[in-house]
């Protein structure tokens, strides 16, 4: 590429540079904070003050840190969901809607079934049914993609809006099964106490976070060691190789998308088992499904890195929420601005991680001969 009189060349790196593996994310966060700072200053807020209170409210105090880890639980799941599909070049961006369906399915099981089982059976049942509902929600896009090659991007996304209105219908638009009928205030009907975990002590952390982390570790191991993981990796890198080796691309594609949907659904069900205990439209304010995509991309689809990134991101949000209760509230949207900028910078930084970049001056021919002589 030639810009003016300089020539920029990308030479692919043959071996990964370990130093850059850390430097790119750190630099991305740094530049994102600068972009966020510009907007904060323009809106008349103190950038450093905002960031330091973000840091203490989101990460460095005991209350903030535990709140963040609790809050991160569904985000770990949607992050895993995105990572599982995206690493296969299957862009399931319907994690948001699949998570709502997980909440609906989990709440249904929690209300209808949980009373008949002891806690040790009821909670897994709720989580499994929630996951199944999430998988069901991605079924149509998955079939279209696997059988006919229709892009899954727009189809999964459109279903997010359908799922959103479905939750609205259950809570605000009707007085049916999911609605708490004892009050005129529109809220969900509580699930059986058998279907719920209590928090750890006085914190906002629930045991579900341990399940989410265990799931991440399991997936990491599973994709590295299992036949299935190997086949999906081959298919992702080279569909032709996979076909020559006799792998069933249709079945692999279908299963990857369904598992991705199930992981997002699991996040929604965990929200029921943990803090919510019912269908809570509050989940729709956060955008965990979309944030999960950012988390997965930043973690470069590594399942263990997803956990860490999800917790870092949840802290932004928790810290951001705390910023609103002050004399001069900073809109919580600043957290979303920071998320978007981190991702944009990380994408740009990726090129430096993958390539050696050479910048050379292009000399006009006559000068070059002069220098040579």
């Amino acid at each position: 590429m030639i810009v003016g009189r300089t020539r920029i060349e990308f030479e692919p790196r043959l071996s990964p540079n370990r130093w850059l593996l850390l430097a790119v994310p750190v630099a991305s966060i740094f530049f994102a904070l600068i972009v966020g700072g510009v907007f904060l200053l323009a809106a008349g807020h103190s950038a450093l003050g905002t960031y330091s209170s973000l840091l203490s409210n989101g990460y460095t105090t005991f209350d903030g840190a535990t709140r963040t880890i609790g809050f991160a639980t569904p985000l770990i799941c949607t992050g895993l969901a995105a990572a599982f599909a995206f690493r296969m070049n299957l862009f399931n961006i319907g994690g948001e809607g699949q998570m709502y369906l997980g909440m609906i399915g989990g709440a249904w099981a929690g209300i209808a079934l949980a009373d008949y089982f002891p806690k040790i059976v009821a909670i897994p049942l709720v989580l499994i049914i929630g996951s199944a509902a999430g998988a069901l929600w991605v079924f149509v896009p998955a079939i279209l993609r696997a059988k006919m090659g229709t892009s899954e991007i727009v189809s999964t996304l459109l279903l997010n809006y359908v799922a959103l209105n479905l939750v609205n219908y259950f809570i605000f638009g009707s007085r049916g099964f999911f609605r708490d009928k004892s009050t005129s205030f529109p809220q969900g009907r509580s699930v059986s106490s058998n279907a719920r975990f209590g928090p750890f002590g006085t914190t906002n952390m629930y045991p579900t976070v341990l399940i989410a982390i265990a799931m991440a570790l399991f997936l990491y191991w599973f994709i590295k060691r299992s036949n299935y993981g190997y086949e999906t990796s081959v298919l992702a890198d080279s569909p032709n190789t996979a076909r020559y080796a006799g792998m069933n691309a249709t079945r692999l594609t279908l299963s990857v998308l369904l598992i991705s949907g199930a992981l997002a659904g699991l996040g929604g069900a965990m929200y029921v088992v943990g803090p919510a205990g019912k269908i809570d439209p509050g989940l729709m304010q956060v955008g965990f499904g979309y944030a999960g995509i950012v988390v997965a991309s930043l973690a470069r689809y590594n399942f263990v890195a997803v956990v860490i990134t999800a917790i870092l991101f949840a802290g932004l949000r928790v810290g951001g929420a705390a910023l609103q209760i002050s004399s001069k509230p900073v809109p919580i949207a600043i957290a979303v601005v920071l998320q978007g900028s981190v991702l944009l910078f990380a994408l740009g930084g990726e090129v430096f991680r993958r390539n050696r970049v050479h910048i050379r001056r292009v000399e006009p021919v006559s000068t070059a001969t002069k220098v040579a002589s």
Partner: protein, 312 residues
């Protein structure tokens, strides 16, 4: 029920279609060059909030629209640099723009949240023409930008099919190596059309705010129209004129819920009716998935593929 209501609904669908046409024209230009820009929703929101803020500050309608165009171009430039020069994943970059645009529009729009729109685009007064029954409101009841949009679709269609530059553009999306061998810079063509596309999408957002919106509220403003525009491009087979027909159809599904609510027709609960545009769009995508339909569609062949010349 009053037949007049349905005439108005149809007229409204044509009006709402303006946003869809503008946005999908932007997407068509971008995608014809081989670049997927999924950031439409984010650019629409930024265009909308820019138009609102500038309108609020200056009360100048045209300045507001001009700035939403510039903001759209700026966001498309970010996408272009990332995907064309730095060869990042186009899908993820587009999604990052959506997240960034959603957050930023909410952040800078906080100060005017709930305020009603400061300036508005009014329908042109076409006198006697607008009084013709049915045709009057449907065809002659719109504003300048809507008419310009129709002309724009025609111009874009001629540009693609009848000009040399349009030929080069189509070739860039289908066979960039050939274009490169002809000595034309693939990166240049892609930059120009991605940024021009961003301008149209930004305008779509600005127009939507000032013509259709009432008050600024980030959550309620575009409500997924950007994604519908992306589906519409598939429906229109990357052809500008077909986008008009598709946009009116999609506009109708977006408008019907409001008419039903306004007429107190409660065959279906409002939340269910609100799902219909998205379900309809999905059904269209399903219908377009059959092998026969796909052959007829003809997406740009190298859509989403970064172009790397085999150097040395």
């Amino acid at each position: 029920m009053n037949s007049n209501v349905w005439v108005l609904t149809f007229a409204d669908s044509i009006s709402i279609a303006t946003t869809l046409i503008l946005a999908s024209l932007g997407v068509i230009l971008t995608e014809r060059s081989g670049i997927i820009n999924l950031g439409v929703e984010g650019i629409l929101l930024m265009g909308a909030v820019t138009a609102f803020l500038v309108g609020d500050g200056t009360h100048n309608l045209w300045l507001a629209l001009l700035l939403s165009i510039l903001v759209g171009m700026a966001m498309a430039t970010v996408h272009a640099v990332l995907t064309i020069s730095l060869r990042s994943n186009q899908i993820v970059s587009g999604l990052a723009l959506v997240i960034f645009g959603t957050g930023l529009s909410q952040f800078i729009g906080k100060s005017v949240e709930g305020k009603s729109r400061p300036v508005q685009i009014n329908p042109l007064k076409l006198g006697a023409l607008a009084d013709i029954p049915i045709i009057g409101p449907v065809i002659f009841g719109h504003d300048t930008i809507t008419y310009l949009t129709w002309v724009g679709a025609l111009v874009a269609s001629l540009y693609l099919s009848r000009t040399r530059a349009g030929l080069v553009l189509r070739a860039t999306g289908d066979a960039p190596a050939t274009v490169d061998a002809q000595g034309v810079s693939v990166a240049m063509i892609r930059y120009i059309h991605t940024i021009a596309g961003g301008a149209l999408i930004g305008l779509a957002g600005g127009w939507f705010m000032l013509a259709r919106g009432t008050a600024w509220s980030q959550a309620a403003t575009t409500n997924g129209i950007g994604w519908i525009a992306l589906a519409l491009v598939v429906f229109a087979a990357w052809r500008p004129l077909r986008a008009i027909g598709g946009a009116v159809l999609f506009g109708f599904t977006l408008q019907v819920p409001f008419t039903l609510q306004g007429q107190q027709i409660n065959i279906l609960p409002p939340a269910i009716v609100q799902m219909l545009p998205y379900i309809a769009t999905l059904l269209v995508l399903v219908a377009l998935s059959t092998p026969r339909a796909r052959r007829l569609l003809g997406a740009p062949k190298m859509l989403g593929q970064p172009f790397v010349r085999d150097e040395r």
